[in-house]
Amino acid sequence: MSELVFDDVTVRYGNARTGHTAVDGVRLVVPDGAVVGLVGESGSGKSTLAKAAVGLAPVTGGAVLLDGVPVPTRPGRRPVQMVFQDPYSSLDPRMTIGDSIAEAVPRGTPRAQRRADVLRLLELVDLDPARARAHPAQLSGGQRQRVAVARALAARPDVVIADEITSALDVSIQGTVLNLVRRLQRELGTSMLFISHNLAVVRYVASTIAVMREGRIVEQGPAEQVLGDPAHEYTRELLAAVPGAVR
């Protein structure tokens, strides 16, 4: 069982006088094996919340708990992994994709095992294992994003956080990444926090949806309920703004 819990998490940037609160007392549960979608507009604090979970943003209040204990953020095994938005900057241009994935394999893994892991993961994300020695520049955006997913899985995570992983991709490629996310989730049963500003994309992958605004979660619940019968005024506003939506 691995359940990620944001327990009253607050993230403040800057000092007391001029700083601002990016995440404000968020309570959110990512249950074992579930995909929770997080929607909201730019600046609402989605990415900050994601970074707080992996130790890239300072948690100034509350705690991020994995199965009841704080998520470790020291070097070493990290049970919470993250996939970033832009596949063009999330892979080191100087490293082969095999090396990038291998780097995330928990330390202490024997070399042969590490190598086997890389090949298996490439296979898993539908890339030819023979391309482990390719550099990112030789890959398309969609392929790079799949490498980034493989790297996240290499750390044998209990929870994966996907932050806007399709929004930097061209329209024709988004679909392949979304399909991959759904298939992996079904096959591996990884818990996932899926962040996007696009309601239709979140609807497609997530079973539970949380709506964030100005650092707070204003509504959360099962996807059909949040999208079909929104309780909060802001959720209704978001839904009405989706292009092509019935108004």
Binding site: M82, M95, G142, V171, R203, L238, P243
Partner: protein
Amino acid sequence: MTTMAPGVLVPVADRPAARGRWGSVLRTPVGIGAGVLLAAVLVLAVVAPVVWGAQAEAVDTDAILQGSSAAHLVGTDNLGRDLFARTMVATGLSVRLALTATVLTVVLGMLLGAAPLLLGRRAGRLVTAGIDIAVAFPGLLLALFFAIVFGVGATGAVLAIGVAGAPVFARLTSTLAAGVASRDYVLAARVAGVGRFRVLLRHVFPNIAEPLVVNATIGAGGALLAFAGLSFLGLGVQAPDYDWGRLLQDGLSGIYRHPEAALAPGLAIVVAGLAFNLFGEAVAKGIGLTSAAGVVRGRRAAGADRQPATERGPVAGQPVLDVEDLSVAFPGAGGPVRPVRGVTFSVGRGEAVGVVGESGSGKSLTALAVARLVEAPGEVTAARLDFRGTDLRTGGERAHRRLLGTGFAMVFQDPMTSLNPTRRIGHQLAEGARRHQGLSRAAGLARAVDRLRSVRVPEPERRARQYPHEFSGGMRQRAMIGMGLMGEPALIVADEPTTALDVTVQRSVLDLLAAIRRSDDVALLLISHDVAVVREVCDRVLVMYAGRIVEDLPADRLAAGRHPYTRALVATVPDMAVDLDAPLPVIPGRPVDPSAQPPGCAYAARCPLASDRCRAEDPPLAADASGSRVACWHADEVADGALAAAGAAREEVA
């Protein structure tokens, strides 16, 4: 590259790409010249003392302070020693001292520059603040200061110049390192549990090595000049040793009688300094550290490429915009590249036409070409380009300034960068009207305020006096639209006007565009990669692929497109009604590169219906009875199997 198992570190120097780039630098004329010069200086530094050493020390009291002669090329000094030999021999000391000082600079600078990444936040900030203060003082001044402290002489000067260069190099290292450290791949490594020191070694240093090496090379040139300066002042190398600076100082006093004595070491200093400088800059340019070198100019586009026929479709009344066979070409490495090829369409009065397609399909370029905003080296050709009945192809830019300035509005994607950050909004709006409509300053501003009000900017009087950074994103975009409404536009061309905006703000901007269109009967050419946006706003849609219009159809029939690409494009993006149980259909492969267009249909490599004919012959854009147009040999055969099943297609396209 040697075969290596994944998980094994590949040294940076082993990267063929990197080696290739450095190699290609050395093949440019400037690169070769600088490389040869630098090699010559370095070789001379080693060889000269051996070859000319004895001659440089030979005292000849019969030939004191002579001018140049056959025996003494640049004359002699006050002990009758040959100055040519001395200048040559001085290369050794000058270069050696400069390189020593540079090594000191680089080591100190890298240690200081990397410190903020390794130390904690607080200590790091302290180091940064120290560097900031030191950087404010010019190197020469710092060198003077340290020369005083370390004492007059060669050792003192090496220390002084080495230490004085460190702050700048530290600043460079820390700026570059901070840039890399905030990249997502470093964050990803940290999330994966990689420690700070390993991150520095594996990710940061390899990615900043090239600029550091280049700057160290240029820095060595600087150190050489600084050394010459200190010695010239008498603070560097002391007699009986001598370097170029010292020789220059000795020569200057006798410049009336034999100027060669001063000019020869001066020339040596300049040549050696240039060697380091030019080499560093050639490498920097080659590996793209400075502003990117422009595209190589190819020969003019040779005649019209094979261009399939395009039908114009029915044209009702006089269109606002009428475009026929529009092409845009850029010079490329292997001949001209045509990202837009034979585009034909028209926009009627008050009509809203959408343009959709993948990134790089030529949407923006088509808009810019129509607006006559493609600049050299881009070349626009068209069989017809009429705006409100005026042929824009004839006459210079000047001739149509008024017509386009008042009647043709453009809205760009990023409202932050599209407005001038240093001018007040009101001024920016009024500027065009004052020129084209002859409004006074006050009248222009009043009109700007009025237009801001019409695009629903609250408190327009106050807002007109503000700068763009004081506006929110949506408001900036409305100001851009307001700018287009300063005249009486007949057409608004909007290139991804809402892509940078949030959905709710996007909604308000789209509503605004719709309202303007209704009230003023303005035509709209709306470019977007978002099919849903176009479907909602537009009457008619042009689907672009690889620089061509492949289908032209009513917006409400998008889902029932006849071209396989149209159908794939619409199906692959999830909307709020997509079936949750089925995988999304995907388009395999990737778009064609405009510089490598296949002979037949550009979509053939990704098209499930592609036949031999498709691969050989580009289909014409043919109109049907209803006025819709499609460019596909198998337009009416399109069946369910058109889309590759999800997951089935593994992309192996490199």
